[in-house]
């Protein structure tokens, strides 16, 4: 199963992720 988020945000929104990394619920995806 998969979760896909699609959202609008200002241009300075930054993901704090790496492709392929493991993530847990509650950990940061990104912020402004």
């Amino acid at each position: 199963s998969t979760i896909v988020l699609i959202f609008e945000a200002p241009k300075d929104f930054n993901f704090q992720l790496k492709t392929g990394q493991k993530i847990r619920f509650g950990e940061a995806l990104g912020s402004l």
């Binding site: 199963s1 998969t2 979760i3 896909v4 988020l5 699609i6 959202f7 609008e8 945000a9 200002p10 241009k11 929104f13 993901f15 704090q16 992720l17 790496k18 492709t19 392929g20 990394q21 493991k22 993530i23 847990r24 619920f25 509650g26 950990e27 940061a28 995806l29 990104g30 912020s31 402004l32």
Partner: protein, 325 residues
């Protein structure tokens, strides 16, 4: 061959044939991998090998919905007490489940595999990050993320799907559809509500051993739900690299609404044996049901005359779960 009687010609042994064809195929795959490694060494980017139309059609013809429903039914049968530990232990060993995090560690507690699959976690197992505006709604692996460009979203690197096919046509607040988007840019413009904003996406893959509940990734208001009945193909990263628009083929539930910066959506995409998606505040939602046909979609608006806002969700709040079936 010339001297053998005609009858013995038809008595060819299946094992040597299997060995020869299987060995040939394995050799070919090894050669391909070797060639890819050599190209990588030379610094050349290898384009992803996508499934052809007939391969996708063949896969889609497999009754994955029916098989998943059967698997779901089978796993609702209560297991005898003595069988629970060996069955769940095999699942834990196969998929690397961390039972230390489970709210109930005693395997005998789970009456069947479905209950085990949707097990809850200890409250302290997943602290919610308070500093960042968007958190991960689930456990899993990041398949892709970034800015949406040209209305094409990447499911994995180099393999895309259409944003419009995935979300379906945009609805106005009065439940009327927007006029059909003349171009992909106009569809993107229907989603982006504020000047200077951009559209972002993030794809999280949940492996069979992961915690299968999902939570609200931010503070937002859910105004609309769209359920797309569809296939239940595997969504593991290998398949996502092979089948273009995989997420547009599969059964999914799209929740849309608004957060402080405008449009926000969360989509739960089903997979083989996991086509049953539950949204806790949406009791009318029934996924992978035989009465729904593939290729259509069912809408439900949470905005009513009495509730003009929709359903408010706090960051980290329980939102829904994937189930076997």
């Amino acid at each position: 061959i010339h001297t053998a009687p005609a009858r013995t010609m038809f008595l060819l042994r299946p094992l040597p044939i299997l060995l020869v064809t299987g060995g040939g195929y394995a050799g070919y795959r090894q050669y391909e991998k070797y060639r890819e490694r050599e190209l990588e060494k030379l610094g050349l980017e290898i384009p992803p090998k996508l499934a052809g139309h007939w391969e996708v059609a063949l896969y889609k013809s497999v009754p994955t919905r029916l098989l998943s429903r059967a698997w779901g039914r089978l796993n609702q049968v209560e297991l005898p007490h003595w069988l629970r530990r060996p069955v769940y232990s095999l699942y834990i060993w196969t998929f690397g489940v961390n039972m230390k995090e489970a709210a109930v560690e005693d395997l005998h507690h789970y009456r069947n595999l479905s209950e085990f699959f949707r097990r809850k976690l200890k409250p302290q197992a997943r602290p919610v990050c308070g500093l960042h505006s968007v958190i991960s709604p689930s456990d899993g692996r990041i398949l892709n993320f970034g800015q949406v460009k040209n209305c094409e979203v990447e499911q994995v690197k180099g393999v895309t799907y259409s944003l419009e096919s995935f979300l379906g046509p945009r609805m106005c607040t009065e439940d009327l559809p927007f006029p059909p988007a003349a171009s992909c840019d106009s569809f993107k413009n229907q989603l982006v509500t504020r000047e200077g904003n951009e559209l972002y996406h993030c794809v999280i893959y949940l492996a069979p051993g992961d915690y299968h509940c999902f939570h609200s990734p931010t503070d937002w208001t859910v105004s609309h739900r769209r359920h797309f009945p569809g296939s239940l193909m595997s969504v593991n990263p290998g398949m996502a690299r092979w089948i273009k628009e995989l997420f547009c083929h599969n059964e999914r539930v799209v929740l849309t609404g608004d957060w402080k910066h405008g449009f926000f959506s969360l989509t739960a995409v089903g997979a083989t044996n996991v086509g049953s998606i539950r949204i806790y505040f949406d009791r009318d939602l029934h996924t992978n049901s035989p009465r729904h046909s593939k290729g259509s979609y069912n809408d439900f608006s949470f905005v009513t005359h009495t509730n003009r806002e929709g359903v408010p969700m706090r960051k980290g709040e329980h939102l829904g779960e994937f189930n076997l079936g």
